[in-house]
């Protein structure tokens, strides 16, 4: 496997005295679907937030599609910290689905989805609307376009969140525990939409989740994070049925025990 679309090269991230990522090496191939699992506080969200440029880094280099994300190449070839212009350019590759949906409550579902395509990509209102309608169809909410987020169930909100992220046509879609904030009976409808996306060949997906069965089903690869490092990774079969590390075994035993099947 060559030419990864995402590459973390000895990435360090600290919050004050707390080192959250300690020289993390991590690669994702184009079109790959990768699930990230691991205990609370192990740095899973931090990895996604660094990619979405919501969080800076304190060391190492993150590369997206061959270009450094948090750095820019100076004319003499050295790397200097990225400017906002560079970050804006890089961000067009990525989309994010948030645990708490983060929809804009004062805008209709349609406006939530069209706002950025119109203002950032420069689409006409008509084009943006058309694209939004297609996406709402995809997530099964074609009839909800004129509602406000406050009028939707959690599952519907998250499906709007997915449509909103897709409207920017990202190459890489990041999901941070997309079903953790949902009532158990609403988890399925969101997972069905993500499952559909997983069939798309070109889309690279990074999914932080506690849904072990779902991760097993859709992932090409599963990474077990522990204290800011990848403790173990492999195909779902390898990792779930025959983990090498005791730490992985303990974690899996604990989560499968407390959540047989479908909680987030």
């Amino acid at each position: 496997m060559t030419d990864p679309i995402i590459k973390f090269d000895k990435v360090v991230k600290r919050f004050g005295d707390l080192t959250v990522l300690n020289k993390l090496d991590f690669e994702v191939q184009r079109g790959e679907k990768v699930s990230i699992i691991g205990p609370s506080g192990s740095g899973k969200s931090t990895v996604l937030r660094i990619l979405m440029t919501l969080e800076g880094i304190d060391g190492g280099v993150v590369t997206v599609d061959g270009e450094p994300l948090w750095h820019e190449k100076a004319p003499d070839g050295t790397l200097k910290p990225a400017s906002e212009t560079h970050l804006r350019k890089m961000r067009t590759q990525l989309g994010m689905v948030f645990q708490q949906f983060n929809l804009f409550p004062h805008m209709t579902v349609l406006r939530n989805i069209t706002e950025a395509p119109v203002k950032v990509l420069g689409l006409s209102k008509k084009e943006a609307r058309q694209r939004a309608e297609e996406l709402l169809e995809l997530v099964g909410l074609a009839d909800q376009a004129q509602k406000y987020p406050g009028q939707l169930s959690g599952g519907q909100k998250q499906r709007v969140g997915i449509a909103r992220a897709l409207a920017m046509r990202p190459n890489i879609l990041l999901f941070d525990e997309p079903t953790s904030a949902l009532d158990p009976e609403l988890v399925g409808e969101v997972l069905n939409v993500i499952r559909k996306l997983a069939d798309e060949h070109d889309l690279t997906m990074l999914l932080v989740t506690h849904e072990m069965r779902f991760a097993k089903e859709i992932s090409d690869r599963v990474c077990f994070f522990d204290r800011g490092r990848i403790r173990e990774e492999g195909t779902p079969e390898e990792l779930f049925t025959d983990p090498n590390e005791d730490r992985t075994r303990e974690f899996l035993a604990a989560v499968l025990d407390e959540a047989p099947g479908t909680t987030g």
């Binding site: 979405m52 919501l54 706002e115 950032v120 992220a165």
Partner: protein, 230 residues
């Protein structure tokens, strides 16, 4: 006689009715001072709030000091300052403008805090969603943050509008002919203070109740989740 209206001292009721038009003239000035002072407070407060949020401490620190100074000094002191000190530097404003300016400056310290709190109440999740969608920071501010802050800001501002109205009588000390000052002049001339002052109280009560009801009406009409801008 005052402002062309004669008073009728034949009975308390006749007296009250005859001075009502005079007091209403004063009420008009009170309302004008309220509106101008409020408008100044809204604009100046926004300027303070924006400057105070500036990333550079060279800007934000002096602004914090100014706001604190305004907040911790009485309105009357500021009024005297504007009325007696500014002319020494060649800035002579009409009494009414001086008064409205003092009200605006005094209340800008409070409105600045309302803006700050209202904007800050819009959580990081909204900013992060906007950033993930690559919206510019200007667009995020005007179309994501501000529309959601408005329903939090407006009710507090409405309460300050009522407070400003009740502070207008302070302007009488620099000769502004607002309602209380007019009532006092009537009393001075007729040696009857009870009726003019009672009327002032009643008129204040009515205007305050109306204004408060208006504020509540706007409050219920505003969508809690925010107002989308075009």
């Amino acid at each position: 006689m005052l402002f062309g209206f004669e008073w009728d001292l034949s009975s308390p009721l006749a007296f009250a009715l005859s001075i009502l038009p005079i007091l209403l003239t004063g009420l008009l000035v009170t309302l004008q001072a309220t509106v101008v002072g409020f408008a100044l407070a809204l604009v100046l407060g926004l300027v303070w709030a924006v400057l105070k949020a500036a990333p550079s401490r060279i800007i934000s620190w002096p602004v914090s000091v100014v706001i604190e100074f305004i907040r911790d000094t009485p309105l009357l002191v500021q009024l005297f300052f504007l009325y007696y000190v500014l002319p020494e530097y060649g800035i002579v404003l009409p009494a009414f403008m001086t008064g409205a300016l003092a009200l605006g400056i005094q209340y800008s310290a409070y409105t600045a805090e309302v803006y700050r709190a209202g904007l800050q109440a819009i959580g990081a999740d909204q900013r992060e969603a906007a950033r993930a969608l690559n919206l510019s920071s200007a667009r995020t501010f005007t179309h994501i943050i501000v529309p959601q802050a408005i329903p939090r800001i407006v009710p507090a501002m409405g309460n300050y509008l009522v407070s400003i109205m009740k502070d207008v009588p302070v302007l009488s000390v620099v000769t502004v002919l607002e309602m209380l000052n007019v009532a006092k002049i009537v009393g001075d001339r007729t040696f009857d203070y009870l009726i003019p002052l009672s009327l002032v109280g009643a008129l204040y009560l009515i205007t305050t109740l109306v204004a408060s009801a208006g504020v509540r009406l706007v409050d219920t009409w505003l969508p809690k989740e925010g107002i989308p801008l075009k």
